[in-house]
């Protein structure tokens, strides 16, 4: 109980520090506070040779809060409701189609490369934001840590590469770009975009929450192919 309170408090403090550091550096995607905090915590764990199981048990309250936080993401849809209403059909088609293409392409390539079954399962949720990835994997009894890690990495990769790819391919529609960033690079990508363009950030946030909802329905359907 006490160990749990200390570890959760330390993680929150560390995350606040990492966030301040990232702000000072100008919010580059590679200095994602999530990654920095996780690396620091892993370093401390390795140095003190404490057990990972003990750490996970102690940090459980924080992980438990992911479910209420996911519920709270409803505010993102509500805040962008007018934008969604103004172009409901194209937005929903783009987000649904993009999410399904994201899931199917990840599974297809993972098979093609002969990746381990656990990795294939985790890749099924790489295109949704981590709260959804964790919720879906917990529900399906899949590899939760792996899925969380791949989702965060996807966000970082996307925030670095997606805008440049759009430029190179001549994709200039602001709404299309925002939706693409949201579905492909969810939280990290959206954070990056929101700092440069607040309407785009809102749309991108809307896209990643909708993508999470689509994946919650679609991934369990694909699951039997992976089990």
């Amino acid at each position: 109980m006490i160990a749990s309170a200390i570890i959760c408090a330390a993680l929150i403090f560390g995350f606040a520090l990492a966030r301040a550091l990232s702000a000072r550096l100008g919010h580059p995607p590679w200095a994602s506070p999530v990654l920095v905090t996780a690396l620091a915590a892993a370093g401390v764990l390795a140095a003190s040779d404490a057990s990972i199981d003990g750490f996970e048990t102690a940090a459980y309250p924080l992980r438990w809060l992911l479910a209420p936080a996911l519920v709270g993401l409803a505010t993102v849809i509500a805040a962008n409701w007018a934008l969604l209403r103004s172009e409901a059909a194209p937005i929903l088609i783009a987000v649904t189609g993009g999410t399904i293409i994201g899931i199917a392409s990840a599974l297809g390539l993972a098979r093609l490369f002969g990746l381990d079954r656990q990795l294939q399962q985790a890749l099924a949720v790489k295109t949704v934001t981590t709260p959804f990835a964790v919720a879906i994997m917990t529900q399906l009894d899949g590899p939760v840590a792996l899925a969380a890690a791949l989702a965060v990495l996807t966000g970082v990769i996307g925030a670095i590469l997606v805008p440049a790819t759009f430029d190179r391919l001549g994709i200039r529609t602001a709404v299309g770009r925002a939706l693409g960033v949201g579905v492909s690079s969810h939280l990290v990508g959206t954070d990056w975009l929101a700092r440069r363009d607040s309407r785009g950030g809102g749309l991108s946030a809307l896209a990643f929450v909708l993508a999470g909802l689509v994946a919650s329905v679609v991934v369990p359907l694909f699951w039997r192919l992976l089990a």
Partner: protein, 126 residues
């Protein structure tokens, strides 16, 4: 994360408490429903789907925004424990690192471009 979620401005813990409790209650209720009815989707997703109509059409739900905003702003730190759990899986990752990175890069770009193109094909931006 940052100023992404503008719905609930930082405020005292007391102001955030009602919304926090509401989100926890909805998450737990969703979980209970999913377990008992053997539904194939995560319980928290059901909670979100209950909260959304309240936000859109309910009156006087504004009291919940501070708590919901607090939760969503701190999602990052809640992800950290799961990531640290990766320490136990170094073997699995190290022998597949390159193909795994290739899958991540290719599918992320493909997803982004497909989404943007689908938006245009569906008649968006006219």
């Amino acid at each position: 994360m940052g100023d992404l979620f503008k719905t609930g401005q930082p405020s005292g813990v007391l102001r955030a408490l009602p919304g926090l409790l509401l989100c926890c209650g909805l998450a737990m209720a969703g979980e209970a429903l999913v377990t008992n009815a053997h539904l194939p989707i995560p319980g928290a997703v059901l909670g979100l789907l209950c909260y959304l109509p309240l936000l859109l059409f309910g009156r006087g739900i504004g009291w919940s925004l501070a708590g919901a905003g607090l939760l969503t702003r701190w999602i990052g730190v809640m992800i950290v424990p799961a990531l640290v759990g990766l320490l136990g899986q170094q073997a699995l990752l190290s022998h597949a690192l390159l193909p795994l990175l290739a899958v991540l890069v290719i599918t992320t770009l493909l997803t982004a471009v497909a989404t943007a193109l689908l938006y245009r094909l569906a008649g968006g931006g006219r």
